[in-house]
Symmetry: C2
Subunit: 411 residues, 2 copies
């Protein structure tokens, strides 16, 4: 394999990640594909932990996604196994067998039914996963489980990510303070395959399963589902949320409710933090781009317009070229297929309204916009002038680096 790209210029430092009651972690080298780096992570959860999950909408998912989807309805988890280097996608029956064998090996170590073991894989696709390497390495990882293994776990799930991604928050539930910690990987590549986004979040709160699932789905909708690197959808995207229930707080009612307001907000904030770290590590990315749409006929319409701008190659190449090309933004708004009136539309870059009500702003001074475009973070605002619908989306620029990473022949 060629040397990986340098660390993203938009990388953020790994935060301090204190222990979280009910979670122990270990990472090791199973030698799946990489040499001399960790590629297997085992995470053990306290007995009684609950789990929620959200998965790729790709119709050709990997075997681990099938496994997790089947395990989810029971709502119980005791372990998570993640390997990097092989995504176990498009591997037919062998793929399903590899996932099952991995889950069985971990369940024997942890002492739980296999269905309480969640599995995720990321890496090359179409190659059978040599799960014997995983099952051989798991006992060593089990022996090494520790409550301070967060950074090792964050690094162990990386593929061609250029920096490890993690975030942590605290929130009050009643009189108690609980913690939420998450790790993620994504938008790095293992030649020759697609970027895959994996995200694992843990809390020591005790949350009823239906509430846990609803909070996760909402949080993902407002974070990962509003970010894009290249509009392609991995076959392995997975977000799992585990609740160990080890914190001592008042009982949360079955419907959740006001008691969870702070926790829910912290969860959403953490998910957005992790989603933006993934975008910051987008393939070849040199700039983080935020698109704020207002004045749409609905929030749903605003989201679709924001994503159309975020996914437009012409907008993204213009940003790479530091060109405040509002014409391409207008084009992208128009192609979303959502209600838009060309003659009411306004566009701003870096807070400067360049185009308003169907034409360029008279006496528009490009200088502050050009200065803004030269920075690492670019803000685009679109006001449709039609209604009260608002939404934001995030992306990165489209650069030669993207072509380099994805257009080089796999070796």
């Amino acid at each position: 394999m060629a040397a990986g790209p340098a660390v993203s210029p938009m990388a953020v430092p790994l935060p301090h990640l204190p222990p979280l009651a009910g979670v122990r972690l270990a990472a090791g080298e199973a030698g799946i594909r990489y040499r001399g780096r960790t590629d297997l992570v085992l995470i053990e959860l306290a007995a009684g932990s609950g789990v929620a999950g959200v998965f790729t909408r790709n119709r050709c998912p990997g075997a681990p996604v099938d496994w997790c989807r089947a395990a989810l309805p029971a709502g119980r988890a005791r372990a998570l196994v993640v390997n990097a280097g092989n995504a176990n996608v498009f591997t037919g029956r062998a793929g399903a067998a590899a996932t099952r064998a991995t889950a069985q090996a971990a369940s024997a170590l942890v002492g739980c039914p296999p269905r309480q073991v969640f599995v995720a894989s990321t890496g090359v696709i179409g190659e059978v996963l040599a799960h014997a390497k995983l099952t051989a390495a798991l006992p060593g990882l089990h022996a090494a489980l520790a409550d301070d293994g967060w950074e090792r776990a964050a690094r162990g799930i990386m593929t061609t990510d250029t920096f490890p991604k993690a975030a942590t928050r605290t929130a009050r539930i009643g009189e108690a303070t609980v913690r939420i910690t998450g790790i993620a990987k994504g938008s790095g590549m293992i030649a020759p395959d697609m970027a895959t986004m994996l995200c694992f979040v843990f809390t020591d709160a005790r949350i009823p399963p239906a509430v846990l699932q609803r909070a996760l789905a909402r949080g993902v909708e407002a974070s990962f589902n509003r970010t894009t690197v290249d509009s392609d959808t991995s076959t392995s995207d997975t977000v799992l949320l585990f609740a160990t229930g080890q914190a001592r707080h008042a009982r949360v009612p079955a419907e959740g409710g006001p008691m969870l307001r702070e926790w829910t907000r912290a969860l959403s904030d953490l998910l957005l933090d992790l989603a933006l770290q993934v975008v910051r590590d987008g393939e070849g990315a040199q700039k983080l781009v935020r698109i704020d749409v207002s004045g749409a006929v609905s929030a749903r319409s605003a989201k679709r317009i924001a994503m159309a701008v975020a996914n437009s190659p012409l907008v993204k190449t213009a940003i790479a070229g530091e060109d405040a090309n509002w014409g391409r933004i207008v084009m992208a708004v128009g192609k979303a297929g959502e209600p838009a009136d060309r003659d009411r539309l306004s566009v701003a870059v870096g807070g400067v309204w360049m185009a308003r009500e169907g034409g360029v702003v008279a006496g528009y001074d490009e200088a502050p916009v050009v200065a803004h475009m030269r920075g690492r973070e670019v803000n685009i605002a679109v006001d449709l002038g039609l209604g009260a619908g608002r939404a934001s989306a995030w992306t990165c620029d489209l650069t030669h680096g993207y072509i380099d990473i994805n257009g080089s022949y796999r070796s």
Copy 2:
């Protein structure tokens, strides 16, 4: 402006374009944006000519698209004016006024109502079109109208197209032979704006308006609507079909019918020829890619899957890298959101089935596939194994050239 890119390696030579009864053409230099090249085309049509049109679905179209849409229902055309260098998009009331003034000037020269003049513009957007330059140049063009002006017209509508695009066909209607000739431009760029596709087709047949519109819509659906360069949709895309009615053939019934079978087939064939020329000149394109989908649940589903593959940046960069990466093709099939069964799916490149029924083909020999990928034309086949739905789509690869063209700051 920077020097344009070299001629596309997939360029095709301009065919011989004989006169077509009822069409006279001229091109000239109006000095709209370019220096030392033609940028204005006037085409006069015989009295009684009919017209059909298909336009961009972008919700923020340019003023000329508004004008043509309003003029179309009357179904009559006497002239077409096309300028390159300024798209007259997002120019508010001034844009509508510029289009009206252009049509009025041409109508006075040709001797027809302004609404029988069709107008198209391509080039930078957001800048007011200095239509006085157009109206000043039109009399000279009118004086120069000639029936052998096809190549000049094909060149006059170019922006950063690297080669002129035209095609011609003949067909029998009853006992008579009629001609269809078309010119197109597209997927070149005028920095800093989007690729725009314009296509103007002419026939000397006499076709009832409703039949003309239906034939054009069907032909476009099977050609331009199945090609993509980068998934972005111009605000100016326009296809117009003019029928001068100068050929002497038996009267075509109002419903068209079998008498037009050959003509309709020739029209569709010509439209696909022009659409593929546009893809061959895609920004930075080094390879023409055809995607054949079979076994889908319906033709509509097959088309959506073919277009999802054609629009996938990860597939297109893999092709640029000459990497027969069937994993990315599987990913793109899955993200289309159409019915697909991972374990029934087969993928071929260059006629070699690499993946079949959910996994890599045993003993798959990559050598012939690698050789195929090195060529200028790459064929991908996907068989979903679900039904009888078939469709094809065409695209080009995604290269550093695309980033160069679209990511360079406009000067």
